[in-house]
């Protein structure tokens, strides 16, 4: 799982779940999600749950902040980092 794959999966999830499919195709990887009210803390929790289900990655509460959840790119970076982090622990 690389960051680009996570980005694509997050884009699709956000389009379907929070933007009614985004028929106008407006969502981009740098759309400010929190700032524009596309996700709020309620939906952040849904998103974190989805990441856990789809990628088996647990995003720790300390990582759930407005900087990390600003847009699809920053969220994907956090997910990738958390995945690498837990893989390291397993091999250690």
């Amino acid at each position: 799982m690389n960051q680009a794959e996570v980005e694509d999966a997050l884009m699709e999830f956000i389009r379907q779940e929070f933007l009614w499919g985004d028929e106008e195709g407006e969502l981009t990887k740098t759309t400010p999600l929190l700032e524009w009210g596309i996700i709020d803390s309620l939906r952040t929790a849904v998103l974190v749950g989805h990441v856990r289900e789809q990628f088996g990655v647990f995003v720790s509460p300390a990582k759930i902040n407005s900087r990390n959840f600003r847009d699809v790119t920053t969220i994907a970076a956090v997910v990738a980092a958390e995945a690498a982090n837990s893989a390291e622990k397993e091999t250690a």
Binding site: E17, F18, D22, E24, E26, P32, A45, P61, I64, S66
Partner: protein
């Protein structure tokens, strides 16, 4: 008695007790005292003094709490804004309240400097986290009970936010009542769930500071994260919880709150901001032996009535009563003809007493009783039962939103001619839907409209669904020309159903796509 004396007195009595915790960041009373004094000196160096307003734009942190105390110690008033507030709104409100200094987190300083430079260059912007001043000499300027302590901006129904001005007397009347009623003591640990711009936080902060107890801040990002909220309640050993009912419902439904034994430490659960549907109250009551209190009051009066939930309430098929007057206030229901409503009658709730605000910033001072705009029914014993709102304000997860303000924001988009906003869904699922009438020949996308609104509205007031009204059509109107909001709510339901059908038709058969919010964890 001033509001800031509370923490100062507790520092003398309990210097080494925990005062504030924000994640791993903690301050004892002595540390809070020193940080508040340091901050006061930095502001004083910039010329801040009695009667001035200082805008504080920040996420929750121990530094933010110390800054609030520092401002008060100068006899000045603080104006808190969430870190998530758009920078244009921060600049607008700084101008509105005539702030003499804006304080922000390091990462946001450049943005606020750029935003204020256009309109009122020279307004100092201070880094909330800098430790450049080492002077911790005590600061405690004398200030009158009826002088301004803080301004809380709330969403206005006319299109502009309103700054609710709260004096030291206003705040103390509520805090003193709460400390007494909840018997708060130095052993208590209070959760701070609400944002600092929301008046629920006044109880959490000053209930703790008044008694040498500790307040435990919940980051805004975690405010609706069910599992984290439940973990926080246990891990922090919270004894007094205060939040909107939707946070508690979320913890029960999605956070597994009821699956484990209620924490022994938890002794009081207060809720306010919106009606708590009785099923949730019953579940909570069966789970914990903690006292359950329904607190009521708009920002303009803070808590002016309360009701402790007990046996007979649970048998009702309605949310708990809002109860009887508190905080030294007098409260009554007024009928449309101006007379006082008696038992069995309905009327608008009116409040008089020490918690009634000084007024809205920039408007005439509040004189006499405050009319809440809330309709209540008077019960036989004089207690009040909440019925509903009079005007076009709605609540989304406890936050009051003037639909007019959202409509003005949406209609401000250059491609939008007119807009109407309605509340759809209820409780945790409540959201705003905006119907926008595009300028002839234009078709602004939903995200473009959201982006535009986000420049001026706080995030909790942003519309979620954006419906474009078809070319040549107008908003549905009532016979007297007003927007027909119930018709818009029905239209929204139809549109949502149509979209769901379209998506179902286009989705692969093996993957029945759930609608938004359909996939709850």
């Amino acid at each position: 008695m001033t509001l800031h004396e509370l923490a100062i007195d507790s520092t003398t009595k309990f210097p080494d007790r925990l005062a504030v915790a924000s994640g791993a960041d903690t301050l004892t009373y002595r540390q809070l005292d020193e940080a508040a004094n340091r901050f006061a000196h930095r502001l004083r160096d910039l010329g801040v003094g009695r009667g001035d307003r200082v805008l504080l734009w920040s996420d929750k942190s121990t530094d933010m709490i110390a800054a609030m105390q520092g401002v008060l110690r100068l006899g000045a008033a603080y104006v808190p804004l969430d870190g998530t507030s758009p920078v244009a709104r921060v600049a607008m409100l700084a101008a509105d309240c005539g702030a003499v200094v804006v304080c922000a987190e390091s990462s946001r300083l450049a943005a606020i400097r750029a935003a204020v430079d256009g309109d009122h260059a020279g307004l100092p912007c201070l880094d909330l986290h800098s430790e450049s001043t080492v002077d911790t000499k005590a600061v405690n300027e004398p200030v009158g009970d009826d002088e301004l302590a803080y301004i809380l901006y709330t969403s206005g129904s006319t299109g502009t936010p309103k700054g609710v001005c709260i004096s030291h007397r206003n705040a103390r009347a509520f805090v003193d009542w709460a400390v007494d009623e909840l018997r708060i003591g130095p052993e208590d640990r209070l959760a701070n769930h609400a944002p600092l711009v929301f008046d629920l936080s006044v109880l959490d902060l000053y209930g703790a500071f008044a008694t040498g107890a500790s307040v435990h801040l919940l980051a805004a990002e975690l405010a609706n994260a069910p599992a984290q909220l439940v973990r926080f309640l246990y891990d922090q050993g919270i004894t007094i919880w205060y939040s909107v009912p939707s946070a508690l419902l979320l913890m029960m439904r999605n956070g597994g709150l009821l699956d484990q034994h209620a924490p022994d430490a938890l002794r009081v659960v207060c809720f306010a901001g919106e009606p708590f549907q009785i099923e949730g109250v019953r579940a909570l009551e069966a789970w914990t032996g903690a006292r359950l209190l329904n607190l009521y009051g708009p920002t303009e009066t803070n808590v002016c009535t309360y009701h402790e939930v007990g046996g007979p309430d649970l048998a009702r098929q309605r949310p708990p009563l809002i109860g009887k007057a508190c905080s030294g206030d007098e409260v009554w229901a007024e009928r449309p003809d101006g007379t006082v409503a008696g038992p069995g009658e309905e009327g608008e709730l009116v409040v008089s007493g020490p918690t009634v605000m000084m007024g809205y910033w920039g408007a005439e001072p509040q004189v006499g009783p405050y009319r809440t705009g809330d309709i209540v029914r008077v019960l036989d014993d004089g207690a009040f039962d909440y019925v509903g709102r009079r005007d076009h304000t709605v609540k989304v997860r406890g936050r009051r939103i003037g639909l007019g303000e959202v409509e003005v924001a949406a209609a401000g988009h250059p491609d939008v001619e007119d807009a109407a906003v309605v509340l759809v869904g209820s409780g945790m699922d409540a959201r705003l839907a905006a119907f926008v009438v595009p300028v002839r020949g234009r078709a602004p996308g939903p995200l473009a409209v959201k982006a535009h609104c986000a420049r001026v509205l706080p995030s909790y007031a942003l519309p979620d669904h954006i419906h474009l009204v078809a070319a040549g059509e107008d908003l549905p109107r009532t016979r007297n020309g007003k927007v027909d909001r119930p018709a818009l709510v029905r239209r929204h339901t139809e549109l949502v159903a149509q979209r769901a059908e379209r998506r179902l038709a286009s989705a692969p058969a093996a993957d029945p796509a759930p609608g938004p919010e359909g996939r709850t964890p």
